[in-house]
């Protein structure tokens, strides 16, 4: 029995307010099997994120201690690999990643007001020391991959006098990548500690499926349709994509689909089959392969594909494949399983 500590701060009498935990006694409940596998599969992803984030912090530090073009490339490569490790588990929107807005800390996006650039300029303006505390109190736009990406990749910034390896900028890069690495480690640790609650609580089955559905929807709508000009004002714009500075929007999409394929699909497939939906499970499996077949061909910068109608077709093909995958998971499977991501249920108000 898990209980929250109740702090009674009512002036008046409080009655009948026990906090209850979900049932944990479920030896014949197949749900625990799926969740056991999900827990393990997601842990693998989180551990990879932790490892890659450590490498990023080390490479950033090594570069700043002895700047060279090679070390700069290595730091960028470490950023990309850690960022892609994050993309693989980005769909997990529940559990320890919710704590302290960790998901937002890893990747503050979308950023229509360019807060990342504004915050960087603010932090670098004076030469006040950049401490871990300063990073912790500066908000999510400072604390994750987009800030490190800005310092490593932003063209205008790289042509300014503040460009790496300027001392103060190096300190900011080191502090931000250290923050990412610490978060990666804490997240993997907390996910492990979350095991019993996760496996023991039936509601996490639907929560996990909804998380994958939301991940697919965000990929289709916000990471592809919007920059492709299929939404809003109808104009193609790479600035609506994520990771445009590093030109990693599409390789990140690739990683997110791979992540769902590795960390979500195995247990989901089993669940579908157990519920008499073997052919649907098969279709979903095939559609994952269809989407992934667009890569590594499409692990390319998005901007040139948006600029040229002929090249745009390869993006459209990817988009159509993703749409079909989303339809299979978010519509067909969700309806069969009674798991709904609704207009109101995903609103939060």
């Amino acid at each position: 029995m898990k209980r929250l500590t109740l702090t009674l701060c009512l002036a008046s009498t409080l009655t009948t307010a026990p906090l209850m935990a979900a049932s944990t006694n479920s030896s014949h409940n197949p749900g625990t099997d799926y969740r056991r596998q999900w827990h393990s599969d997601i842990l693998t992803g989180y551990q990879s994120l932790a490892t890659q984030s450590q490498t990023l912090a080390k490479q950033a530090e090594a570069y700043c201690q002895a700047p060279s073009p090679e070390a700069f490339e290595q730091a960028k490569q470490a950023w990309l690999e850690a960022f892609l490790a994050w993309q693989k588990v980005r769909f997990v929107d529940f559990g320890p990643v919710e704590q302290d807005n960790r998901a937002w800390q890893f990747q503050f996006w979308p950023d229509p007001k360019n807060l990342v650039a504004r915050k960087a300029s603010y932090l670098l303006k004076d030469d006040a020391p950049i401490t871990p505390e300063k990073i912790s109190e500066s908000g999510v736009a400072v604390q994750g991959f987009p800030m490190a990406e800005y310092l490593l990749y932003d063209q205008a910034f790289n042509n300014s006098e503040r460009a790496l390896p300027a001392d103060h900028t190096c300190k900011l890069l080191a502090a931000v990548t250290r923050h990412i690495a610490d978060n990666g480690e804490t997240l993997a640790h907390d996910w492990k500690a979350f095991q019993n609650n996760y496996i023991g609580s039936d509601q996490y089955t639907d929560t996990t499926i909804r998380a994958a559905m939301a991940g697919l929807e965000i990929l289709e709508e916000r990471r592809l349709a919007t920059p492709m000009g299929l939404r809003g004002n109808g104009k193609r714009s790479v600035y609506s994509a994520d990771a445009w500075r590093s030109e990693a929007s599409l390789i990140a999409a690739d990683a997110s689909v791979q992540g769902l394929n590795q960390h979500f699909l195995p247990a989901f497939s089993k669940l579908l089959k157990d519920r008499g939906q073997a052919s649907l499970a098969e279709n979903i499996d095939q559609q994952f392969n269809e989407v992934l077949a667009n890569f590594p061909e499409l692990d390319r910068p998005m901007a040139p594909l948006l600029a040229d109608d002929k090249a745009f077709r390869s993006l459209q093909n990817l988009y159509i494949d993703v749409t079909q995958l989303t339809a299979l998971v978010n519509d067909r499977a969700a309806v069969e399983l009674g798991v709904v991501r609704g207009f109101n249920s995903s609103d939060g108000d």
Partner: protein, 366 residues
Amino acid sequence: MPELTRRSLIKTAFAGSAALTLSGCNILPRKAGSEGPQQYTGAIGLPDGSFAVGATAPDGTMLWKSPVQTRCHSGCNRPGTAEVLFFERRPGWAFYVLNSKTGEKFHRIEAAEGEHFVGHGVFSADGRFLYAPVNRYEPGEGIIAVYDSHMQYQRVDTFELDGTGPHQITLHPDGQTLIVGLGGILTHPDYDRIKLNLDTMEPALVLMDRHSGGVLARFQPSHHQLSTRHVDVAPDGTIYAAYQYQGPAHELPPLVARYRNGRYEEISFGESVHQELGNYIASIVAHPENDLVAIASPVGGTALIFNSRTSAVIEKVAIADCAGVEALAGGDFLVSSGRGKLVRMGKNKPAAEIARMSVRWDHHLV
């Protein structure tokens, strides 16, 4: 003890209920406790992805749809007039004043500099003053903004809530006390809808004098992450608050609180029911004709009715993405869903689907 417990609250009898129940008009659903037109108005999403405010008759006949620029959330009827207001979804930069009979837009009133609306508002009983919860977002302060409808909705006053994240507001039957759900969650429009202070939230149910803005009472839930968002009040003055829990999904805290006879108490429906509520309640409505209260959870896909005296759950039904609740004449409730359904629920009868419409009903009906 809170000051309000010493106040003598006006106890309004169940006015009109006898007449309504004796009317025998139980076949066609009718709106409870309303002298206005027989309709419910709600924010809607349309199949093409655009948004509108729409009105439906209680039987599910769409009366009008009025397109709006962005998704709206909830609103309020202006007493004594054919005006209905709707607020843009948080961060709401404006509210619309519409003709409740036709959907014609009279005004679009923008939020003041540095402020945004949060989706709700309520009028004084005479229909003159609008009280709208507002986020003053740079300092992160919750306030009640007062507008005078007799002066083209000019801002005439501002009341401090001494807290963060106000959400729903309603008016006590005494006509003087505003009831405010103070969610406690700090947000900033630059940061989407990110919750910035989950560790230090201070949610509360706040009772406020509508003339002076003085806080009459403040009740805190039993856990600091029980975001106190939605409120309602019965004609006898019993106040209800509905929470949205910000902690982990495997914890199942109480989600409803009741204030009456000087006591603020939280109600538990039992473990299995709480599992079906997903730690989230979108609407709470006390029926003006009886002692039943209905809640809806889109996250859990569950709507239920409980008895206010015994706290016992007396009806419960699974409705995907249900959120809006309103009282029907005769003692039943109408529940709307993001999948376009209107469902009638009542005591001792199976829930009945009244309509399935090609719109997505947003959180609230008014």
